[in-house]
Every structure is written in structure tokens, then in C-alpha cells.
């Protein structure tokens, strides 16, 4: 190719690229974008609420990303996200942020559906996670090695679990470390000898969709959304949307929408307890 035709080619490509970036359909140009990041527990619900919000307020775009509650806190603090999703209460050092209660959820222990073990005491769970119980037959199950599934650092489900069992993360001897709830559920569903802990809402949702996992009762209380609703389940936690004041108007509208009665069916479809019930 001669130099002249190369320059011609470059000019042509530049023209095409400029047109592509400068011209966009009417709808996109007017769209306001809202970014939510944080807990993988809340992300599916936030996506559903976001979709309904987009239908009612045309020209808006709600972008939901997971990454853990700590990510939500971080992103709201440095302005990357307008709203953070945090699946626990705020700590004293997080008083610069505002929490808006979205729903209630619990943290439940999950096993593979084929595992004959029906219940585990707190001490047994503690021993399994710290590596003292390494075979299921020691707790009345099959003769098979336990596969311990733990959550990655920065996830509030991990913090709540450690808090409840009074353990430190360095004391846990995991075999697999997972990030999102869905990764944990898929890992346990694919391994008959695995034990893990995830959001009750996420686990119940997957069980109803046929995945071979089951939730264990904690301290004798069944891990169901009903027990989270009536407050008897020992490891329940609030699902919060957090913002930093002053927040923009779109964020305020979204939070109002998320707390209204219009989305209760969405909350219950994800097996969480709507905020006004408790």
C-alpha cells in the first residue's frame, strides 16, 4: 500500500470513529446512570428493583455490580458508586454513611442435598471450620472427608459468620474460598461432601429452582425466610442500601422506590423479608 492510500485509510477510519462516538440514539443521550456496588446477597434483588425502576422512569439506567459489602462501603466513600449494598448493619467507624434498610435476611449453613447429616451444633460447626472434624462420620454422616467452603475476605457474610462462632479468619482451615453467594452455592451443589454458608434468601431461591443443596437449622431453629421474618433465627442481618450525604436526586428517588410497597413482591420473590414487616 502506498503512503498516500495509507493516509487516506487513516483519515477514513478517524472519520468513522468520530461519527461512532459523536452520534448516539436520542434515548442514550438523555439517560441518567446510577451505579450500585456491594454485597452479592443484595445484587440480584437490586437488579430486579432497578429494572422496575427503569420501566417507571424512562431515560434512567441502573447499573448493579457485586464485589462484597466492603466494596460497597469503599465505593460510596470514594464516589465511585452512588449507592452501596451492604448486607449487615453499619459499624461505629462507618458513621459517616447513611443506611437505608431494604430487607432482612439470614446466614444459613448449606450442605449437599444428599448429605444425611440433618443438623450441626455450634461447636460442631466450629470444629469443622477449624479443621478438628475432618470426616463426616465424626458427626454422624458418611465416611467421607469434609470439604470446607469459606467466604473471601471483605464479605460481610464472612464477618457475621465469624462473629457468631467467635472465630478469627486465620483460625479457619478452608479447602475452597469463594466470593459471591452463587459461587458458594454452585461449589456445594457440585460436591456431595462440602459445607458452606450463604445468604438464606439466595439458598432458598436456588433450592426452589432445583439445585441439590439444603439449609441446616442453626441452634435448632430452621433456616427459613419465615423464621427470619418472625425474628427467631439467630443469625439474621439487615440488608442495607448506603449513601453518603449529600446524595444526588436519582439516588434518593431509587432508595425511596426500593423502600416502597411497590417492590415487596420482588423482595419476597428473592426470599428476603421486606423491611416494614420487622
Amino acid at each position: 500500500m502506498s503512503i498516500r492510500s495509507s493516509i487516506g485509510m487513516i483519515q477514513f477510519v478517524t472519520l468513522i470513529l468520530t461519527l461512532a462516538f459523536a452520534w448516539h440514539p436520542r434515548g442514550n443521550a438523555a439517560s441518567e446512570k446510577l451505579v450500585l456496588t456491594g454485597a452479592s446477597t443484595i445484587a440480584p434483588l437490586a437488579s430486579e428493583i432497578g429494572r422496575r425502576f427503569e420501566l417507571q422512569h424512562s431515560g434512567t439506567r441502573i447499573d448493579v455490580q457485586s464485589g462484597g459489602s466492603s466494596r460497597g462501603i469503599n465505593d460510596v466513600r470514594n464516589g465511585t458508586a452512588a449507592i452501596g449494598m451492604v448486607s449487615r448493619g453499619l459499624k461505629p467507624e462507618e458513621k459517616d454513611l447513611h443506611a437505608h434498610l431494604l430487607a432482612w435476611d439470614g446466614v444459613g449453613i448449606i450442605l449437599h442435598a444428599s448429605n444425611p447429616v440433618a443438623a450441626l451444633s455450634q461447636q460442631q460447626i466450629r470444629d469443622i471450620y477449624t479443621g478438628k472434624i475432618i470426616n463426616w462420620k465424626m458427626v454422624g454422616g458418611k465416611d467421607a472427608a469434609v470439604t470446607v467452603v469459606n467466604k473471601a475476605d471483605g464479605r460481610s457474610t464472612l464477618e457475621l459468620f465469624l462473629n457468631y462462632l467467635k472465630l478469627k479468619n486465620s483460625e479457619i482451615k478452608p479447602h475452597v474460598i469463594i466470593g459471591d453467594n452463587s459461587q458458594g452455592i454452585k461449589t456445594v451443589a457440585g460436591n456431595a461432601n462440602a459445607i458452606g454458608y450463604v445468604s438464606i434468601g439466595a439458598a432458598e431461591y436456588e433450592t426452589k429452582h432445583g439445585l441439590p443443596i439444603k439449609l441446616l437449622p442453626l441452634d435448632g431453629i430452621e433456616a427459613t425466610v419465615t423464621n427470619v421474618r418472625n425474628g427467631t433465627f439467630p443469625l439474621s442481618r439487615p440488608l442495607n442500601l448506603i449513601t453518603r450525604e449529600p446524595s444526588n436526586s436519582l439516588a434518593r428517588k431509587f432508595i425511596e422506590f426500593a423502600g416502597s410497597a411497590q417492590v415487596h413482591d420482588l423482595v419476597e420473590a428473592q426470599y428476603f423479608v421486606p423491611a416494614w414487616v420487622r
Binding site: 471483605g154 479447602h175 474460598i177 461449589t187 461432601n193
Partner: protein, 274 residues
């Protein structure tokens, strides 16, 4: 016109240097109060408790990449030899298209397939399934097309006179391949292997989903490991101050590793044209 070429090359080089500079600047805060040695001698990787040992993750990265290369290089070179010298034209064409298709599959699809199919399969042989072996197998699948396609291109570029001369001398098919074609294509094949190594060392998403992510040295292929890249992906979203700087340092380490691996093939060069 030359200035345009110089400019383009300069921009590419400048970007690499800027990235290195950025990594170094972001990693600097932690190097000020934690000596570099601690990153290799601390008890474990627990940023919440101020411990930053990178060696288990470094070994995980190296084991996974080495294992994948050990499997992918012979298979890749063998594939390209099969396509060029042993297969019928129709079969060769079809096979080549399949390998190209393999190259185009996104990494996250490999990871998803690994998590839902490969990991439970390995679990039946030896718990927990999410392991170094799973990581090696997934990485092999990902770098195999790179090695195969570059080896194919390198072998195609072997001058026909060499082959004709060898045939005229009465050499056997395998003799020609081993004695003439492969040595002549060596530079190209090594380039392909280097590319594949870079990918194997840096692959994040797929490895994150199948290797178990436990920070430990692997004592058997069935042990879960965590690679440097997967660690950055897992922890960067929420890391703050020291922890964040430690992650940038591990990123810098990863980049140094890739640079060393890329530099190795070039090092013993005495005569480029063999």
C-alpha cells in the same frame, strides 16, 4: 511517514513504562514501613493482621503456568505437525478451524465450565475438586490454541527449498520434521510459547473460579491454590491503604515475572538466523 511509525512505537513503549511507573508509585507506601523481605518471610497472607507473605501465591502462579505449559506445548506443536504433514487437506482445514474456535472462547466461559463440570469431576477422584489440577487443565485449554497456531505459522514459513532438499536426500517424513522443519521453525515456536506463558501467568477469571483460592503452597496437584492475579481480583475491590499497596506490589511482581519470562528466550541468542 517514518515519524508516524516512530510515534506509534513510542506510544506503545511509553504505555508499558507508564504502567510500571504507576504500579511502583502505588506500591511505594507499604514499602516505606515494611521491608521487602517480609513479603517473602511473613507467616501467611492475612492483610487484616498485617501479614503479607506473597510466596504461596507466587508458587501457585508458577506451578499452574508450568503445568499448563508442560501439557500445552507438546500438544500444540503435535497438533500443528499433524495439520501440516499428516492430515488430509479436508481434515487439516477442519481441525485448524476448531483450534481457532478454541482460541476465541472467552476466559469466563472456560471458568464457568470448569466450575460446573471439571471441578465436580476432579472432586470424584480426590476432594475438594477446586484445585491446582483444575487450574492447570483450564489453562492448558486456553494456551493450547496459541501454541498450535503460532507453531503452525512458523512451520509454514520454513522455506520450501529446505524441505525439497531433505526429500531429495531421501530422508523419512519424521526425519524431515525432526531434523529440518522443527529447527528452522524454532524461533517462531519459542515466540508462541512465550506468548502462551504470558497468558498462563496472567489469566485471572477462569483460574479464580476453579483453583479454590486458598493461600497455601500446593503439596499435590489436588490442593487448592491462589494465584497472584486471582488474589488481586478477589481483594482489590475493597482493599484500603496498606492492603491496597500490597496488592499493587504483587501486581508489580507479576509484571516482573512476565518480563523475565519474555526475556529468557532472547537471552542465549548468538545467531538469530540459525
Amino acid at each position: 511517514m517514518l515519524w508516524l511509525l516512530h510515534g506509534a512505537a513510542g506510544i506503545a513503549a511509553a504505555i508499558v513504562l507508564l504502567i510500571l511507573l504507576f504500579l511502583a508509585v502505588e506500591a511505594w507506601p507499604i514499602l516505606r514501613h515494611i521491608p521487602l523481605l517480609h513479603f517473602f518471610t511473613d507467616a501467611s497472607w492475612h492483610p487484616g493482621e498485617g501479614m503479607y507473605n506473597l510466596t504461596p501465591m507466587l508458587s501457585g502462579t508458577l506451578y499452574a503456568a508450568a503445568g499448563a505449559l508442560l501439557l500445552a506445548v507438546p500438544l500444540g506443536v503435535a497438533s500443528s505437525l499433524f495439520v501440516l504433514y499428516y492430515a488430509s487437506p479436508g481434515l487439516a482445514n477442519g481441525y485448524l478451524r476448531l483450534v481457532e474456535l478454541l482460541a476465541g472462547i472467552p476466559s469466563v466461559v472456560y471458568g464457568f465450565w470448569g466450575l460446573t463440570t471439571l471441578v465436580p469431576l476432579i472432586n470424584q477422584i480426590h476432594a475438594p475438586g477446586a484445585s491446582l489440577l483444575a487450574g492447570i487443565l483450564i489453562l492448558t485449554l486456553m494456551i493450547l490454541p496459541t501454541v498450535a497456531l503460532t507453531a503452525h505459522a512458523a512451520l509454514l514459513a520454513v522455506p520450501h527449498e529446505y524441505i525439497r532438499g531433505a526429500v531429495a536426500l531421501g530422508m523419512s517424513q519424521w526425519g524431515i520434521i525432526r531434523g529440518v522443519a522443527l529447527p528452522a521453525a524454532k524461533a517462531g515456536i519459542v515466540a508462541g510459547v512465550t506468548l502462551a506463558t504470558g497468558r498462563a501467568v496472567g489469566e485471572t477469571m477462569a483460574v479464580l473460579m476453579v483453583t479454590g483460592n486458598v493461600v497455601q503452597h500446593a503439596h499435590s496437584p489436588f490442593d487448592p491454590v491462589r494465584t497472584l492475579a486471582a488474589n488481586i481480583a478477589l481483594e482489590m475491590p475493597y482493599a484500603m491503604s496498606d492492603h491496597r499497596a500490597a496488592l499493587f506490589l504483587s501486581g508489580l511482581l507479576l509484571m516482573m515475572l512476565v518480563m523475565i519470562l519474555w526475556g529468557l528466550p532472547a537471552w542465549p541468542r548468538k545467531d538469530i538466523h540459525g
